[in-house]
Protein backbone atom coordinates (compact mmCIF):
# COMPACT_ATOMS: atom_id res chain seq x y z
CA UNK A 1 0.00 0.00 0.00
CA UNK A 2 2.84 2.41 0.86
CA UNK A 3 3.75 2.90 -2.79
CA UNK A 4 0.22 3.13 -4.04
CA UNK A 5 -1.23 6.03 -2.02
CA UNK A 6 -3.50 8.66 -3.52
CA UNK A 7 -2.76 12.41 -3.25
CA UNK A 8 -5.34 15.19 -3.58
CA UNK A 9 -4.00 18.60 -4.60
CA UNK A 10 -5.78 21.65 -3.17
CA UNK A 11 -5.10 25.35 -3.28
CA UNK A 12 -6.17 28.22 -1.02
CA UNK A 13 -6.68 31.31 -3.13
CA UNK A 14 -8.77 33.73 -1.12
CA UNK A 15 -9.15 37.42 -1.84
CA UNK A 16 -9.45 40.02 0.87
CA UNK A 17 -10.05 43.77 0.77
CA UNK A 18 -8.82 45.01 4.14
CA UNK A 19 -10.03 48.38 5.39
CA UNK A 20 -6.95 50.22 6.65
CA UNK A 21 -9.11 52.14 9.13
CA UNK A 22 -9.01 55.86 9.89
CA UNK A 23 -5.60 55.87 11.57
CA UNK A 24 -3.63 54.05 8.86
CA UNK A 25 -5.61 55.89 6.15
CA UNK A 26 -4.49 59.25 7.61
CA UNK A 27 -0.90 57.95 7.70
CA UNK A 28 -1.01 56.78 4.07
CA UNK A 29 -2.75 59.97 2.86
CA UNK A 30 0.07 62.09 4.35
CA UNK A 31 2.59 59.93 2.48
CA UNK A 32 0.63 60.13 -0.76
CA UNK A 33 -0.21 63.83 -0.67
CA UNK A 34 2.69 65.45 1.24
CA UNK A 35 5.52 62.89 1.49
CA UNK A 36 5.22 63.10 5.25
CA UNK A 37 5.55 60.35 7.86
CA UNK A 38 3.12 60.77 10.76
CA UNK A 39 3.19 59.08 14.14
CA UNK A 40 0.64 59.04 16.96
CA UNK A 41 1.43 60.50 20.38
CA UNK A 42 0.53 58.68 23.56
CA UNK A 43 -0.68 61.32 26.05
CA UNK A 44 0.54 59.24 28.97
CA UNK A 45 4.03 57.90 28.14
CA UNK A 46 4.62 60.60 25.48
CA UNK A 47 5.96 58.06 23.03
CA UNK A 48 5.38 58.76 19.34
CA UNK A 49 4.20 55.48 17.88
CA UNK A 50 5.25 54.39 14.41
CA UNK A 51 3.54 52.77 12.64
CA UNK A 52 0.76 54.95 14.03
CA UNK A 53 -1.90 53.29 16.12
CA UNK A 54 -5.03 54.66 17.73
CA UNK A 55 -4.03 53.23 21.11
CA UNK A 56 -0.93 52.76 23.27
CA UNK A 57 -0.39 49.11 24.18
CA UNK A 58 1.76 49.96 27.19
CA UNK A 59 -0.49 52.57 28.78
CA UNK A 60 -3.87 51.11 27.74
CA UNK A 61 -5.06 54.51 26.51
CA UNK A 62 -6.05 56.04 23.14
CA UNK A 63 -3.34 58.05 21.41
CA UNK A 64 -4.20 61.73 21.23
CA UNK A 65 -2.56 63.53 18.34
CA UNK A 66 -0.61 63.28 15.11
CA UNK A 67 3.08 64.11 15.14
CA UNK A 68 5.17 64.59 12.01
CA UNK A 69 8.46 62.72 12.32
CA UNK A 70 11.73 63.34 10.49
CA UNK A 71 12.68 61.90 7.12
CA UNK A 72 15.90 60.50 8.53
CA UNK A 73 16.67 57.97 11.20
CA UNK A 74 18.85 55.17 12.50
CA UNK A 75 18.78 51.45 11.78
CA UNK A 76 17.75 49.50 14.91
CA UNK A 77 17.94 46.06 13.34
CA UNK A 78 18.16 44.59 9.85
CA UNK A 79 18.49 41.46 7.80
CA UNK A 80 19.54 40.62 4.28
CA UNK A 81 17.46 37.86 2.73
CA UNK A 82 19.24 35.53 0.30
CA UNK A 83 16.65 32.78 0.15
CA UNK A 84 13.72 32.70 -2.27
CA UNK A 85 10.45 32.37 -0.37
CA UNK A 86 7.22 31.60 -2.16
CA UNK A 87 5.07 34.72 -2.48
CA UNK A 88 7.90 37.02 -1.37
CA UNK A 89 10.22 39.17 -3.54
CA UNK A 90 13.18 37.68 -5.41
CA UNK A 91 16.32 37.82 -3.22
CA UNK A 92 18.57 39.41 -2.27
CA UNK A 93 16.79 42.20 -0.41
CA UNK A 94 17.47 44.09 2.81
CA UNK A 95 14.86 44.88 5.44
CA UNK A 96 15.43 47.21 8.38
CA UNK A 97 13.65 48.55 11.43
CA UNK A 98 14.39 52.25 11.56
CA UNK A 99 13.88 54.72 14.40
CA UNK A 100 13.00 57.89 12.53
CA UNK A 101 13.94 61.20 14.17
CA UNK A 102 11.18 62.13 16.58
CA UNK A 103 9.63 58.66 16.69
CA UNK A 104 9.78 56.39 19.74
CA UNK A 105 9.30 53.06 17.99
CA UNK A 106 10.97 51.60 14.92
CA UNK A 107 9.17 51.00 11.64
CA UNK A 108 10.11 48.29 9.19
CA UNK A 109 10.69 48.70 5.47
CA UNK A 110 13.01 47.69 2.65
CA UNK A 111 16.47 49.25 2.38
CA UNK A 112 17.22 49.98 -1.26
CA UNK A 113 20.15 51.31 -3.25
CA UNK A 114 22.70 48.97 -1.71
CA UNK A 115 24.54 46.24 -3.61
CA UNK A 116 23.68 43.04 -1.76
CA UNK A 117 25.33 40.52 -4.06
CA UNK A 118 28.34 40.29 -1.77
CA UNK A 119 27.25 39.86 1.87
CA UNK A 120 30.63 40.80 3.37
CA UNK A 121 30.73 44.04 1.39
CA UNK A 122 27.10 44.85 2.16
CA UNK A 123 27.39 44.45 5.94
CA UNK A 124 30.30 46.88 5.98
CA UNK A 125 27.75 49.52 5.01
CA UNK A 126 24.44 48.42 6.49
CA UNK A 127 24.73 48.27 10.28
CA UNK A 128 22.70 48.83 13.42
CA UNK A 129 23.13 52.54 14.14
CA UNK A 130 23.69 53.47 10.48
CA UNK A 131 21.86 56.59 9.28
CA UNK A 132 19.18 56.25 6.66
CA UNK A 133 16.71 58.54 4.92
CA UNK A 134 13.20 57.89 3.73
CA UNK A 135 12.77 57.80 -0.06
CA UNK A 136 9.32 58.00 -1.63
CA UNK A 137 7.96 56.33 -4.73
CA UNK A 138 6.94 58.76 -7.46
CA UNK A 139 3.50 57.21 -7.89
CA UNK A 140 2.23 56.55 -4.39
CA UNK A 141 -0.87 54.45 -3.87
CA UNK A 142 -1.40 54.23 -0.11
CA UNK A 143 0.80 51.25 0.64
CA UNK A 144 3.69 50.75 3.06
CA UNK A 145 5.80 50.14 -0.05
CA UNK A 146 5.20 53.79 -1.09
CA UNK A 147 8.46 54.48 0.69
CA UNK A 148 11.70 52.73 1.60
CA UNK A 149 14.97 53.52 3.34
CA UNK A 150 18.31 54.45 1.77
CA UNK A 151 21.65 54.68 3.52
CA UNK A 152 22.80 58.28 3.95
Amino acid sequence: MKDDLIFIAQRWDIEFKHAAGETASTFFKAIMQRREILGRLCPKCKRVLLPPRSFCERCFVETSEWVKVGGEGKIQSFTIVYEKFEGLPPPPYAIAYVLLDGASTAMVNFVKGLDLNNLDQAIKKIKIGAKVKVAFKRKREGRITDFWYELV
Binding site: W12, L49, S77, Y82, E83, G87, L88, T105
Partner: protein, 395 residues
Protein backbone atom coordinates in the same frame (compact mmCIF):
# COMPACT_ATOMS: atom_id res chain seq x y z
CA UNK B 1 -3.57 30.92 46.01
CA UNK B 2 -3.98 27.33 47.13
CA UNK B 3 -1.56 24.88 45.54
CA UNK B 4 -3.00 22.84 42.72
CA UNK B 5 -1.96 19.23 42.62
CA UNK B 6 -2.10 18.36 38.96
CA UNK B 7 0.18 15.99 37.12
CA UNK B 8 1.02 14.52 33.75
CA UNK B 9 0.52 10.76 33.87
CA UNK B 10 0.90 9.78 30.24
CA UNK B 11 2.99 10.95 27.28
CA UNK B 12 2.66 10.01 23.63
CA UNK B 13 4.70 11.14 20.65
CA UNK B 14 5.07 9.95 17.09
CA UNK B 15 8.43 10.10 15.39
CA UNK B 16 8.75 13.52 13.77
CA UNK B 17 9.33 13.28 10.03
CA UNK B 18 9.02 15.34 6.85
CA UNK B 19 5.78 13.73 5.67
CA UNK B 20 3.35 11.04 6.75
CA UNK B 21 1.44 9.94 3.67
CA UNK B 22 0.00 6.83 5.31
CA UNK B 23 -2.32 8.79 7.62
CA UNK B 24 -4.48 11.93 7.55
CA UNK B 25 -4.15 14.64 10.24
CA UNK B 26 -6.89 13.21 12.55
CA UNK B 27 -5.34 9.74 12.40
CA UNK B 28 -1.93 11.17 13.18
CA UNK B 29 -3.34 12.93 16.26
CA UNK B 30 -5.03 9.68 17.30
CA UNK B 31 -1.70 7.83 17.18
CA UNK B 32 -0.27 10.10 19.89
CA UNK B 33 -3.50 9.85 21.91
CA UNK B 34 -3.42 6.06 21.92
CA UNK B 35 0.23 5.99 23.03
CA UNK B 36 -0.39 8.56 25.81
CA UNK B 37 -3.49 6.75 27.10
CA UNK B 38 -1.63 3.46 27.15
CA UNK B 39 1.26 5.14 28.97
CA UNK B 40 -1.22 6.49 31.55
CA UNK B 41 -2.94 3.13 31.82
CA UNK B 42 -6.39 4.52 30.95
CA UNK B 43 -8.84 4.49 28.04
CA UNK B 44 -10.64 7.11 25.96
CA UNK B 45 -13.74 6.70 28.18
CA UNK B 46 -11.75 7.86 31.23
CA UNK B 47 -11.06 11.26 29.68
CA UNK B 48 -13.32 14.11 30.89
CA UNK B 49 -12.33 16.73 28.34
CA UNK B 50 -9.99 17.32 25.42
CA UNK B 51 -7.77 20.30 24.69
CA UNK B 52 -6.61 20.33 21.09
CA UNK B 53 -3.27 21.92 20.25
CA UNK B 54 -3.50 23.25 16.71
CA UNK B 55 -1.68 26.27 15.32
CA UNK B 56 -1.99 27.64 11.80
CA UNK B 57 -4.94 26.23 9.82
CA UNK B 58 -3.29 27.26 6.55
CA UNK B 59 -0.44 24.83 7.25
CA UNK B 60 -2.98 21.99 7.33
CA UNK B 61 -5.11 23.31 4.46
CA UNK B 62 -8.29 22.89 6.50
CA UNK B 63 -9.96 25.87 8.15
CA UNK B 64 -10.53 24.99 11.81
CA UNK B 65 -8.92 21.59 11.37
CA UNK B 66 -9.82 20.71 14.97
CA UNK B 67 -13.31 19.85 13.67
CA UNK B 68 -11.71 17.27 11.43
CA UNK B 69 -9.91 15.73 14.39
CA UNK B 70 -12.34 15.98 17.34
CA UNK B 71 -14.09 12.65 16.85
CA UNK B 72 -10.95 10.76 15.96
CA UNK B 73 -9.28 11.67 19.25
CA UNK B 74 -12.18 10.72 21.50
CA UNK B 75 -14.20 13.93 21.48
CA UNK B 76 -17.65 12.42 20.90
CA UNK B 77 -20.04 13.65 23.66
CA UNK B 78 -17.19 15.35 25.51
CA UNK B 79 -16.07 18.97 26.00
CA UNK B 80 -13.52 19.86 23.33
CA UNK B 81 -11.53 23.06 23.01
CA UNK B 82 -8.99 24.11 20.42
CA UNK B 83 -6.10 26.35 21.48
CA UNK B 84 -3.94 28.47 19.16
CA UNK B 85 -1.21 30.93 20.18
CA UNK B 86 1.10 30.28 17.22
CA UNK B 87 4.31 28.55 18.21
CA UNK B 88 3.26 28.71 21.87
CA UNK B 89 0.11 26.70 21.10
CA UNK B 90 1.25 23.52 22.84
CA UNK B 91 2.29 25.43 25.96
CA UNK B 92 -1.06 27.23 26.05
CA UNK B 93 -2.84 23.89 25.52
CA UNK B 94 -1.10 22.39 28.57
CA UNK B 95 -1.98 25.48 30.59
CA UNK B 96 -5.60 25.16 29.44
CA UNK B 97 -5.57 21.53 30.56
CA UNK B 98 -4.18 22.70 33.90
CA UNK B 99 -6.92 25.34 34.25
CA UNK B 100 -9.58 22.75 33.39
CA UNK B 101 -8.48 20.54 36.26
CA UNK B 102 -7.66 23.40 38.64
CA UNK B 103 -11.25 24.63 38.19
CA UNK B 104 -12.40 21.42 39.82
CA UNK B 105 -14.73 20.66 36.93
CA UNK B 106 -12.57 17.96 35.35
CA UNK B 107 -10.35 15.21 36.69
CA UNK B 108 -8.65 13.91 33.58
CA UNK B 109 -7.88 15.91 30.44
CA UNK B 110 -6.27 14.77 27.22
CA UNK B 111 -4.10 17.52 25.73
CA UNK B 112 -2.97 16.69 22.23
CA UNK B 113 -2.47 17.82 18.68
CA UNK B 114 -0.90 16.99 15.36
CA UNK B 115 0.96 18.81 12.61
CA UNK B 116 1.19 18.02 8.90
CA UNK B 117 2.92 21.11 7.59
CA UNK B 118 4.83 18.86 5.18
CA UNK B 119 1.76 19.04 2.95
CA UNK B 120 2.02 22.77 2.28
CA UNK B 121 4.19 23.79 -0.62
CA UNK B 122 6.04 26.33 1.50
CA UNK B 123 5.55 27.19 5.15
CA UNK B 124 7.13 30.66 5.09
CA UNK B 125 4.43 31.88 2.71
CA UNK B 126 1.89 31.00 5.39
CA UNK B 127 4.07 32.46 8.15
CA UNK B 128 4.28 35.77 6.29
CA UNK B 129 0.48 35.95 6.62
CA UNK B 130 0.65 36.23 10.43
CA UNK B 131 1.88 39.80 10.05
CA UNK B 132 -0.21 42.96 9.92
CA UNK B 133 -1.61 43.35 6.37
CA UNK B 134 -1.61 47.15 6.56
CA UNK B 135 1.86 48.07 7.81
CA UNK B 136 4.14 45.05 7.73
CA UNK B 137 3.21 42.04 5.61
CA UNK B 138 4.22 43.62 2.30
CA UNK B 139 7.73 44.18 3.68
CA UNK B 140 8.39 40.42 3.38
CA UNK B 141 8.60 39.67 7.11
CA UNK B 142 8.43 35.98 7.99
CA UNK B 143 9.28 33.63 10.85
CA UNK B 144 12.94 33.41 9.85
CA UNK B 145 13.77 37.07 9.55
CA UNK B 146 11.83 38.07 12.69
CA UNK B 147 14.47 36.04 14.51
CA UNK B 148 17.25 37.54 12.39
CA UNK B 149 16.22 40.92 13.81
CA UNK B 150 16.54 39.43 17.29
CA UNK B 151 19.95 37.94 16.50
CA UNK B 152 21.27 41.24 15.10
CA UNK B 153 20.26 43.12 18.23
CA UNK B 154 21.71 40.43 20.51
CA UNK B 155 24.99 40.53 18.59
CA UNK B 156 25.14 44.32 18.70
CA UNK B 157 24.14 44.63 22.35
CA UNK B 158 26.25 41.81 23.81
CA UNK B 159 28.95 40.95 21.28
CA UNK B 160 27.37 37.59 20.50
CA UNK B 161 28.77 36.06 17.32
CA UNK B 162 27.71 33.68 14.58
CA UNK B 163 30.05 31.18 16.23
CA UNK B 164 27.90 31.29 19.38
CA UNK B 165 24.80 30.65 17.30
CA UNK B 166 26.55 27.70 15.65
CA UNK B 167 27.34 26.14 19.03
CA UNK B 168 23.61 25.89 19.75
CA UNK B 169 22.99 24.09 16.45
CA UNK B 170 25.86 21.67 17.01
CA UNK B 171 24.71 20.74 20.54
CA UNK B 172 21.08 20.29 19.44
CA UNK B 173 22.05 17.99 16.59
CA UNK B 174 24.27 15.97 18.88
CA UNK B 175 21.52 15.56 21.49
CA UNK B 176 19.00 14.55 18.84
CA UNK B 177 21.03 11.44 18.09
CA UNK B 178 19.80 10.13 21.47
CA UNK B 179 16.14 10.90 20.74
CA UNK B 180 14.21 8.29 18.72
CA UNK B 181 11.49 10.90 17.95
CA UNK B 182 13.80 13.59 16.52
CA UNK B 183 13.34 14.54 12.87
CA UNK B 184 16.91 15.56 12.03
CA UNK B 185 19.44 13.00 13.15
CA UNK B 186 22.69 14.06 11.63
CA UNK B 187 25.59 15.56 13.53
CA UNK B 188 27.17 18.77 12.22
CA UNK B 189 30.28 20.76 12.98
CA UNK B 190 30.63 24.45 13.80
CA UNK B 191 32.32 24.92 10.41
CA UNK B 192 29.41 23.29 8.60
CA UNK B 193 26.96 25.63 10.35
CA UNK B 194 29.08 28.70 9.60
CA UNK B 195 29.51 27.65 5.97
CA UNK B 196 25.87 26.74 5.37
CA UNK B 197 24.02 29.04 3.00
CA UNK B 198 22.68 32.33 4.32
CA UNK B 199 18.88 32.35 4.59
CA UNK B 200 18.23 35.67 6.33
CA UNK B 201 21.50 37.15 7.56
CA UNK B 202 22.85 36.36 10.13
CA UNK B 203 20.81 33.15 10.18
CA UNK B 204 22.10 30.38 7.97
CA UNK B 205 20.49 27.10 6.98
CA UNK B 206 21.70 25.19 10.03
CA UNK B 207 20.59 27.95 12.40
CA UNK B 208 17.04 27.08 11.32
CA UNK B 209 14.60 24.34 12.31
CA UNK B 210 13.12 21.86 9.85
CA UNK B 211 9.38 21.74 9.15
CA UNK B 212 8.11 18.57 10.69
CA UNK B 213 5.09 16.31 10.71
CA UNK B 214 4.04 14.48 13.84
CA UNK B 215 1.77 14.32 16.86
CA UNK B 216 2.10 14.69 20.61
CA UNK B 217 -0.25 14.02 23.53
CA UNK B 218 -0.15 14.26 27.31
CA UNK B 219 -2.71 13.02 29.83
CA UNK B 220 -3.21 15.45 32.70
CA UNK B 221 -5.02 14.50 35.89
CA UNK B 222 -6.03 15.68 39.34
CA UNK B 223 -4.37 14.33 42.47
CA UNK B 224 -7.57 12.41 43.26
CA UNK B 225 -7.60 10.73 39.86
CA UNK B 226 -3.89 9.90 40.12
CA UNK B 227 -4.27 8.38 43.59
CA UNK B 228 -7.24 6.28 42.46
CA UNK B 229 -5.17 5.04 39.55
CA UNK B 230 -2.29 4.36 41.94
CA UNK B 231 0.05 5.97 39.44
CA UNK B 232 3.72 6.25 40.41
CA UNK B 233 5.28 7.95 37.39
CA UNK B 234 3.91 11.46 37.60
CA UNK B 235 5.30 14.74 36.36
CA UNK B 236 3.69 17.27 38.71
CA UNK B 237 2.94 20.69 37.28
CA UNK B 238 4.45 23.12 39.78
CA UNK B 239 4.13 26.36 37.87
CA UNK B 240 2.33 27.69 34.82
CA UNK B 241 2.56 31.23 33.49
CA UNK B 242 2.27 33.04 30.22
CA UNK B 243 3.08 36.54 29.08
CA UNK B 244 2.29 38.60 26.02
CA UNK B 245 4.52 41.11 24.29
CA UNK B 246 3.72 43.69 21.59
CA UNK B 247 2.59 42.58 18.15
CA UNK B 248 4.90 45.04 16.42
CA UNK B 249 8.56 44.10 16.83
CA UNK B 250 9.59 47.72 16.18
CA UNK B 251 8.09 48.59 19.59
CA UNK B 252 10.94 46.58 21.11
CA UNK B 253 13.72 48.41 19.31
CA UNK B 254 14.11 51.86 20.83
CA UNK B 255 17.36 52.87 22.50
CA UNK B 256 16.06 52.56 26.07
CA UNK B 257 17.03 48.89 26.49
CA UNK B 258 13.57 48.33 28.01
CA UNK B 259 11.67 45.38 26.50
CA UNK B 260 14.41 44.93 23.91
CA UNK B 261 13.78 42.55 21.00
CA UNK B 262 17.18 41.02 21.88
CA UNK B 263 16.00 39.93 25.31
CA UNK B 264 12.71 37.99 25.23
CA UNK B 265 11.23 40.06 28.04
CA UNK B 266 7.91 38.22 27.70
CA UNK B 267 9.69 34.98 28.51
CA UNK B 268 11.51 36.60 31.43
CA UNK B 269 8.21 37.76 32.95
CA UNK B 270 6.46 34.45 32.32
CA UNK B 271 9.37 32.57 33.89
CA UNK B 272 9.39 34.90 36.89
CA UNK B 273 5.70 34.18 37.51
CA UNK B 274 6.03 30.43 36.92
CA UNK B 275 9.09 30.17 39.20
CA UNK B 276 7.25 32.08 41.91
CA UNK B 277 4.29 29.71 41.67
CA UNK B 278 6.66 26.73 41.78
CA UNK B 279 8.59 28.16 44.74
CA UNK B 280 11.80 28.45 42.76
CA UNK B 281 14.05 31.29 43.86
CA UNK B 282 17.29 30.39 42.10
CA UNK B 283 16.65 28.81 38.67
CA UNK B 284 20.41 28.38 38.10
CA UNK B 285 20.51 25.92 40.98
CA UNK B 286 16.98 24.55 41.06
CA UNK B 287 16.21 23.86 37.39
CA UNK B 288 17.93 20.64 36.37
CA UNK B 289 16.84 20.37 32.76
CA UNK B 290 15.12 22.67 30.25
CA UNK B 291 13.19 22.08 27.07
CA UNK B 292 13.16 25.44 25.33
CA UNK B 293 11.07 26.48 22.34
CA UNK B 294 13.81 27.74 20.03
CA UNK B 295 13.19 27.26 16.31
CA UNK B 296 16.34 29.25 15.56
CA UNK B 297 19.69 29.19 17.33
CA UNK B 298 19.35 32.84 18.31
CA UNK B 299 16.02 32.21 20.05
CA UNK B 300 17.69 29.84 22.49
CA UNK B 301 20.40 32.36 23.41
CA UNK B 302 17.82 34.98 24.39
CA UNK B 303 15.74 32.31 26.15
CA UNK B 304 18.43 30.93 28.48
CA UNK B 305 19.10 34.48 29.64
CA UNK B 306 15.40 35.21 30.14
CA UNK B 307 15.00 31.97 32.09
CA UNK B 308 17.78 33.06 34.44
CA UNK B 309 20.25 30.31 33.49
CA UNK B 310 22.94 32.94 32.88
CA UNK B 311 23.21 36.71 32.96
CA UNK B 312 21.96 38.84 30.09
CA UNK B 313 24.47 38.72 27.25
CA UNK B 314 26.32 35.71 28.65
CA UNK B 315 24.56 32.97 26.71
CA UNK B 316 27.30 32.91 24.08
CA UNK B 317 30.12 32.42 26.55
CA UNK B 318 28.02 29.94 28.57
CA UNK B 319 27.66 27.86 25.42
CA UNK B 320 31.41 28.00 24.92
CA UNK B 321 31.79 26.62 28.45
CA UNK B 322 29.32 23.78 27.83
CA UNK B 323 26.91 24.94 30.56
CA UNK B 324 23.91 23.74 28.54
CA UNK B 325 25.37 20.43 27.34
CA UNK B 326 23.58 17.24 28.34
CA UNK B 327 26.24 16.67 31.03
CA UNK B 328 26.55 20.40 31.78
CA UNK B 329 25.21 22.47 34.67
CA UNK B 330 21.77 23.08 33.15
CA UNK B 331 21.18 20.72 30.22
CA UNK B 332 19.09 22.46 27.55
CA UNK B 333 17.06 20.50 25.01
CA UNK B 334 18.42 16.99 25.63
CA UNK B 335 15.80 15.93 23.06
CA UNK B 336 17.60 17.95 20.39
CA UNK B 337 14.88 20.57 20.69
CA UNK B 338 13.04 22.48 18.01
CA UNK B 339 16.12 22.72 15.78
CA UNK B 340 15.78 18.98 15.17
CA UNK B 341 11.95 18.75 14.99
CA UNK B 342 9.40 21.53 14.57
CA UNK B 343 5.84 20.27 14.11
CA UNK B 344 4.49 23.77 14.92
CA UNK B 345 1.07 22.78 16.34
CA UNK B 346 2.66 20.47 18.91
CA UNK B 347 6.23 21.78 19.21
CA UNK B 348 5.63 23.53 22.54
CA UNK B 349 3.56 20.54 23.72
CA UNK B 350 6.52 18.28 22.91
CA UNK B 351 8.68 20.52 25.11
CA UNK B 352 6.33 19.80 28.06
CA UNK B 353 6.15 16.11 27.11
CA UNK B 354 9.94 15.84 27.01
CA UNK B 355 10.29 17.74 30.31
CA UNK B 356 7.70 15.37 31.84
CA UNK B 357 9.65 12.32 30.64
CA UNK B 358 12.78 13.79 32.22
CA UNK B 359 11.30 14.27 35.70
CA UNK B 360 9.56 10.87 35.46
CA UNK B 361 12.96 9.37 34.68
CA UNK B 362 11.59 7.91 31.44
CA UNK B 363 13.69 9.83 28.91
CA UNK B 364 15.80 6.77 28.06
CA UNK B 365 19.00 7.58 26.14
CA UNK B 366 18.44 11.32 26.51
CA UNK B 367 17.74 11.15 30.26
CA UNK B 368 19.54 13.82 32.23
CA UNK B 369 20.91 12.30 35.40
CA UNK B 370 19.00 13.20 38.56
CA UNK B 371 16.73 15.62 36.72
CA UNK B 372 13.90 16.20 39.16
CA UNK B 373 12.83 19.72 38.27
CA UNK B 374 12.35 20.80 34.67
CA UNK B 375 11.14 23.83 32.77
CA UNK B 376 9.44 23.84 29.36
CA UNK B 377 8.74 26.92 27.27
CA UNK B 378 6.67 28.00 24.30
CA UNK B 379 6.99 31.03 22.06
CA UNK B 380 4.49 32.21 19.47
CA UNK B 381 3.78 34.92 16.94
CA UNK B 382 6.30 37.72 16.41
CA UNK B 383 8.12 36.56 19.59
CA UNK B 384 4.91 37.76 21.19
CA UNK B 385 3.32 34.95 23.22
CA UNK B 386 5.36 33.08 25.81
CA UNK B 387 4.46 30.12 28.02
CA UNK B 388 6.49 28.64 30.86
CA UNK B 389 5.71 25.36 32.63
CA UNK B 390 7.66 24.04 35.61
CA UNK B 391 7.50 20.31 36.30
CA UNK B 392 8.77 18.19 39.16
CA UNK B 393 8.79 14.60 40.33
CA UNK B 394 7.61 15.86 43.73
CA UNK B 395 4.07 16.88 44.47
Amino acid sequence: MKPHRIGIIGVGQTKYVTRRDDVILPELAREAAVIALEDAGIEFKDIDAIVFSLALDALEGVEGAEKWCAGTVGGFRKPFLRVHTGGATGGSAVHTGFFHIASGLFNCVLVLGAEKMGETHEAQNVLNQIFDPIYERQVAINAVNMCSFQAMRHMKKYGTTEYHLALVAVRSRKNALRNPYAHIKKEITVEEVLNSRVICYPLKLYDCCPRSTGACAVVMASERFIRKLNKRDVAWIKGVASCTNTYFMGDRMDDSGINDHADAEGLFLAAKRAYEMAGISDPKKEIEVAEIYAPFTTTELSAVEALGFCEKGESGISNERGVFDIDGKIPVNPSGGVLTANPISVTALARVAEAALQVMGKAEERQVEKARTAVATGEGGSLQFYTVTVLSDEM
